[in-house]
């Protein structure tokens, strides 16, 4: 993992910690309309009122008052790769990103610190009316569209960290795909935290109009810092009639990051939403991408993988709520724990009375790489409709001595044997990724494996 910190000058950095004055400052700095300032302040009040969640991972070491909530880098918005400062290009280089970046140059939005530094939208999409902006710019340039959907899927009172994000959000992507427009190339954004103790509170909103289709890819890596960093994003997806949204995340946070993210989608009639979510690194991750199947024949799929190493707790999973007839969903969750790490699957599957003839299949598989590690499954299934067809399978397996011996007896070293078995386990996940991400995942897995051999 890349863990080198780059020297960094920031033009504007609010004080550590959080209060009304800091939130007001953030809003003023961004020249936001009054309704947004009010929204932030209200969210702050909710954040302060709500207790820390105690039902999941241990958050007792997280001190919200020891974090910078806003930093604006010197570099302002850029639209061409040539205009990107070399220092930032170097950062991308170290992340091993440039091939992917350059290949998809036209469609990249990347976040450096709290602001979009670089974004460019391919011309043909612009002509079709596609918007791919940083969320702050979208608020300025498309206020009506913004206000119509912003925080409608995840309101501030949804949970404590959604409230926090609502109060201090900065950056993130805003994607709008007009009716019947199919974007055939993934939109990509790379995120990075680069200032010590700085929180990352991006806010992403994707709106797919009827009959449209988009694939958004988000990748992350963070440098190592001594104090705990907090990443708390909110991602909202609105999939209108017969639209398709696929949202892919590959996260590789450094081992001191608290990664507490709220992701939710609403799928209207015949819409199709997919969350593909890979969680590596971080100290604690709590993330449960959700899909509300609101219209008839809507489909939802969540495929997630979590790798928990030493000192890490990946508390991840998915939630699907069937609210309409003939809706279909599928959750595939794969987790691996090693070196005393802990991976938990936490899922919700709910079928309301309205959801006649809906179908759902949940499959969660955990792989333990050693005796020290831990895996838990917390599935909640609530079915209020008897015509629904629900399947739930869970398995916990170990990389068994017998499997290792079998592969070793064919000449593979113990490390190679372990790697081939682990790669087989996550195959279903990797298959769903675009090629360059599949390569990145394999590289990450190989690096994770290096550390796990005793």
């Amino acid at each position: 993992m890349l863990d080198k910190k780059q020297a960094n000058k920031n033009t504007f950095k609010v004080k550590k910690g959080l209060n009304r004055s800091i939130v007001t400052q953030i809003s003023e700095q961004k020249n936001e309309p009054g309704w947004m300032t009010d929204f932030r302040l209200e969210a702050l009040a909710i954040f302060e009122r709500m207790p820390m969640p105690t039902w999941g991972a241990d958050l007792s070491d997280l001190d919200p008052n020891n974090i910078y909530y806003y930093i604006k880098p010197i570099e302002s918005q850029k639209n061409a790769w040539e205009d990107i400062p070399d220092k930032i290009k170097t950062t991308f280089d170290k992340l091993g990103i440039p091939e992917a970046e350059q290949k998809f140059l036209a469609g990249v939005g990347a976040q450096y610190e709290s602001e979009m530094v670089y974004k460019k939208l391919k011309k043909k999409w612009e002509e079709k009316g596609v918007l791919f902006l940083d969320t702050g710019t979208a608020l300025k340039e498309h206020p009506e569209l913004f206000k119509k959907y912003f925080a409608t899927i995840i309101p501030p009172h949804d949970n404590k960290f959604a409230a926090l994000n609502s109060a201090v959000w900065s950056g993130g992507s805003f994607v709008y795909v007009p009716e019947k427009v199919i974007i055939d190339m993934p939109l990509q954004a790379y995120f990075r935290i680069n200032a010590a103790q700085m929180g990352q509170f991006e806010r992403t909103l994707i709106i797919a109009e009827p009959g449209s289709s988009v694939h958004y890819v988000e990748g992350c890596s963070a440098p190592l810092h001594r104090t705990n960093s907090l990443h708390s994003a909110v991602v909202e997806l609105v999939a209108l009639k017969q639209s398709h949204i696929r949202y892919t995340t590959i996260q590789n946070w450094s081992n001191n990051v608290y990664n507490l993210v709220t992701k939710r989608a609403v799928a209207h009639a015949k819409a199709h939403v997919e969350w593909i979510d890979g969680n590596f690194g971080s100290k604690v991750t709590m993330k449960y991408p959700s899909i509300i199947l609101q219209g008839e024949y809507a489909k939802g799929q969540i495929i997630s993988i979590a790798v928990a190493g030493s000192g890490q707790h990946q508390d991840a999973g998915g939630k699907i709520i069937h609210c309409a007839p003939f809706t279909k969903s599928n959750i595939i969750s794969k987790s691996m724990s090693k070196g005393g790490g802990r991976a938990s699957y936490r899922g919700l599957l709910k079928v309301t009375k309205e959801a006649k003839y809906s179908e759902s299949k949940v499959q969660c598989d955990a792989l333990l790489l050693d005796e020290l590690s831990r895996s838990d499954t917390y599935p909640t299934v609530i079915v209020n409709e008897s015509s629904a067809d629900i399947g739930h399978e869970a398995s916990v397996s170990k990389v068994s001595e017998e499997q290792l011996f079998y592969a070793q007896s064919r000449g593979l070293s113990q490390q190679a044997a372990r790697a081939i078995i682990v790669n087989g386990f996550i195959d279903a996940f990797v298959k769903e990724l675009p090629m360059e991400y599949a390569v990145e995942i394999n590289r990450l897995i190989a690096m994770e494996m290096e550390g796990s051999i005793g």
Binding site: Y406, Q408, S409, G411, I420, F425
Partner: protein, 283 residues
């Protein structure tokens, strides 16, 4: 050749093998027969280096003349000056490989192969990719994918294996017969010096058995110097492949050894005669 001397093995502190002596010449076929729990599979696993089997006494050496000679020939073409020196050095090294000191993957590279009685499922691992990795690891030759594919195609055709088979995951959803065929495919590909077949005939119907036996005959024809240790309960596989020597094992000791006619005697008189306590000795 493989030389096993006074091999004693414990599992969970219980002595399973109580002093096995066995000498396997290049190109020879040995059958080891015995009742359940006699130590047949323990011998197989121990030779391959399974970590659950603890060797408490004895030695296993592999004479490695042939492969080194081949290496020398290739070196001769490049470095004709140092032939003699190389040869003598390599022969010194090749005198004896201490099998018991090696990890399973190194034993595979030294030329030992175990066909598993119950081959393991490797979920999500495609068979052809597994075979490629194994081939590269054992031979040390970074064969190109097209060359490997060609090699694989030839072997699966000869062994009567379906083409769809190798793009499936290793042993996942394979029938009993398919699993044994997949073991044979690995054997044909890796060309070991010593092939240990642990109950390759178990769980097979007559047709599948015939097909496995045909595969074995093909592999033997292609690799005349390959030695076989065939571990089995029953004679039926041995009717297809006649062993040079038959050994009867009971309670961790080879209680009788002889040529293939020993199978007939065993057939008519049963294992009871060869119980370790009775100590019949060689016939």
């Amino acid at each position: 050749m493989l030389e096993i001397k006074n091999l004693k093995v414990t599992v969970d502190d219980i002595e399973i093998l109580q002093g096995i002596d066995l000498s396997v010449q290049p190109g020879s076929i040995h059958a080891i027969m015995g009742p359940n729990g006699s130590g047949k599979s323990t011998l197989a696993y121990t030779l391959m280096g399974h970590p659950a089997y603890t060797v408490t006494a004895g030695t296993v050496f592999l004479q490695d003349g042939e492969r080194v000679l081949l290496q020398d020939q290739s070196q001769n073409q490049d470095q004709s000056q140092s032939i003699d020196q190389n040869q003598s050095q390599n022969q010194d090294q090749s005198q004896k490989i201490d099998v018991l000191s090696l990890s399973p993957d190194k034993r595979a590279k030294a030329g030992i192969f175990l066909s598993f009685q119950q081959p393991l499922v490797l979920a999500g691992v495609r068979a052809d990719i597994f075979l490629l990795e194994a081939y590269r690891a054992v031979t040390g030759h970074m064969i190109s994918v097209p060359d490997f594919t060609q090699l694989l195609e030839k072997l699966i055709e000869r062994l009567g294996i379906s083409h769809t088979f190798i793009v499936r995951n290793v042993n996942e959803g394979f029938s009993g017969g398919e699993k044994k065929k997949f073991e044979l495919l690995q054997l044909a590909l890796l060309k070991p010096k010593i092939a240990i077949l642990d109950e390759i005939d178990s769980g097979l119907d007559i047709d599948a058995l015939k097909s496995v036996a045909d595969g074995l005959s093909y592999i033997r024809k292609e690799n005349p110097a390959m030695s076989f240790i065939i571990i089995t309960h029953y004679r039926r596989i041995l009717d297809y492949i006649r062993p040079d020597q038959v050994h009867i094992i009971d309670k961790g000791i080879l209680v009788a050894s002889g040529d293939y006619r020993l199978i007939d005697t065993l057939e008519s008189r049963g294992y009871e005669v060869y119980r370790a306590e009775s100590r019949v000795g060689d016939i």
